[in-house]
């Protein structure tokens, strides 16, 4: 009886394989976080809007937030793969430290998971809210976007029309997006804008381009035979160049 009372509870955190897992966890977390952010984010296009910069920052944050979870899984896998096998009907003596039916462990797991989800939700909503700010801008250019199998067409406020998109730099633009046939998805790759184009309905997306250059517009919804060719370019130019361009093209449409 005395022996029983004096016997200590096994201190599982002191066992060699737990220590090994902890070290591997730290290493794997650092590796997953670094590889996930640097290599993955660097493979994404250079941003041409605050929206896209926000998307990239969000991916960086989410990747680092997820890195400990993935790191723990990898660390446990590595520990198991590199441990010696035990033969026999009964578990080895050092297996006493296993955790089973532990309300505390369950609570930690649930709370950490919930906090991670809540973190992802709140930071995601903040970025989404910032993305939508331009929709409310009274000075924003109102642009109609039409998806047709397999060409995009753009209608400007002064009556100009084009198959490639011209935008002025540093000015908010609201896209009113629709389709005349099947479902498409309007995607400006470097600006982080992607919105469904649905027949018979108008969806909205907004962005403020912040870099002069030529960028890519694609369809992100499989829409038929030539979906892969449903691409065009977006030219972000200075305000004066934009004014000149839309005036000329409105004249070509007979609407100047």
């Amino acid at each position: 009886m005395t022996d029983l009372m004096n016997s200590k509870k096994p201190q599982w955190w002191k066992s060699p394989d737990v220590k090994k897992t902890a070290i591997l966890w730290a290493v794997c977390t650092a590796l997953v976080g670094y590889v996930g952010t640097e290599f993955h984010v660097r493979s994404i296009v250079e941003p041409a809007s605050e929206t896209m910069s926000g998307v990239i920052d969000l991916m960086r944050i989410f990747t680092w937030a997820a890195a400990p979870v993935a790191g723990l899984v990898f660390a446990m896998c590595l520990t198991v793969l590199t441990s010696k096998r035990h033969y026999g009907d009964n578990p080895p003596a050092e297996a006493d430290h296993q955790i089973s039916n532990s309300p505390r462990a369950n609570a930690v797991w649930i709370v950490v998971s919930a906090l991670l989800c809540l973190f992802a939700l709140i930071t995601g909503l903040i970025v989404l809210q910032k993305d939508s700010e331009a929709v409310l801008e009274s000075t924003a250019i109102q642009m109609n976007v039409t998806g047709s199998q397999w060409v995009w067409s753009f209608d400007y406020p002064n009556g100009a029309r084009s198959e490639d998109l011209y935008l002025p730099v540093d000015k908010p633009v609201v896209f009113h997006i629709t389709s005349v046939d099947v479902k498409h998805s309007f995607w400006i790759v470097q600006m982080g804008i992607k919105m469904d184009a649905n027949p018979g309905a108008i969806t909205e997306a907004a962005v403020t381009p912040n870099k002069i250059g030529v960028f890519d517009v694609r369809c992100a919804e499989l829409c038929g035979l030539l979906h892969a060719y449903m691409q065009t370019k977006v030219h972000v130019v200075s305000q004066s160049d934009y004014d000149k361009w839309v005036t000329e093209h409105a004249a070509l449409e007979g609407r100047a």
């Binding site: 039409t146 047709s148 199998q149 397999w150 060409v151 067409s153 029309r161 198959e163 490639d164 005349v180 046939d181 099947v182 027949p199 890519d216 517009v217 694609r218 038929g224 035979l225 030539l226 892969a228 060719y229 691409q231 065009t232 370019k233 070509l252 449409e253």
Partner: protein
């Protein structure tokens, strides 16, 4: 050798074999109808005074695909499908041609295309395509009725920038991927032919004597791979009337290659 290593090797070899088999099958199933090269036609002076080597292409649009060669060996005839196809110098249907929808033109050249439109038509989904876009001067030359027997214009030729969006037979629309290659976007709407004449001719197993004839010229940039398709919804009722002929390459679509 260890049995496990042998089993692993066998699995890898089997997997590679399956992938190679699928690749071979897909490559064999590809229906490439070959290409038509543009014909040299001297030089062309653009409105801005620049002179370019000049090339021409001729093609027809048909209300049915009664001959299969234009669509590749396995494309086949589809009497219910509309189609583009190869044309003679006066819009004659070249029924024995083995290709009709893939085109190759030289870079940095003026290309003049003439299309005889033998089909009737209706209304475009998007009136954006009722306007001539990307051609020299933003115009095309339209003969509403061309007499294919006497090889003369039955109506006067006129310069157009657009046609009514509810009188379109088909469109010839070139576009491409958004890459480093030069942009090339051409859209020319083709006026519908008289519906009664189209139907009467079809019942006799032929094509109307009086198709519309549209001619336009554009300047090519550097080398590039482009695609062309019709923007008139002329397929069957599926996928917003872009089914059948519109959903199979080499009928109402094809490759348009600019080569140096």
């Amino acid at each position: 050798m260890n049995k496990r290593i042998l089993a692993a090797l066998g699995t890898v070899i089997l997997g590679a074999g399956v992938i190679a088999g699928i690749g071979t099958y897909v490559a064999a199933a590809k229906n490439d109808s070959g290409s038509i090269m543009a014909t040299s036609a001297g030089s062309f002076t653009a409105p801005d005074g620049k002179t370019y080597p000049h090339y021409t292409l001729t093609m027809n649009t048909y209300p049915n695909s009664t001959f299969g060669g234009h669509h590749g060996e396995d494309g086949g005839a589809h009497p219910d499908w509309v189609s583009y196809g190869a044309a003679g110098p006066y819009g004659e249907p070249l029924t024995d041609a083995k290709t009709g929808t893939n085109f190759v033109v030289p870079a940095h050249s003026a290309v003049t295309i003439t299309i005889w439109q033998y089909d009737s038509g209706e209304t475009l989904n998007n009136d954006f395509f009722a306007k001539v876009r990307g051609t020299v001067g933003g115009t095309a030359t339209l003969v509403e009725r061309y007499d294919t027997k006497s090889h003369t214009n039955a109506t006067e030729a006129k310069t157009i920038t657009q046609i009514p969006h509810d009188a379109v037979g088909h469109t010839f629309t070139i576009h491409g991927v958004s890459s480093d290659q030069d942009s090339l976007f051409i859209n020319v709407p083709l006026l519908l032919a008289n519906d009664d004449e189209v139907t009467a001719a079809e019942e006799e197993g032929g094509f109307t004597q009086f198709p519309s004839m549209t001619t336009f010229t554009f300047i090519t940039g550097g080398e590039g791979e482009y695609i062309w398709n019709c923007e008139f919804p002329c397929g069957d009722g599926t996928v917003a009337r872009f089914g059948n002929a519109m959903s199979a390459m080499s009928y109402m679509s094809g490759h348009f290659t600019v080569k140096g």
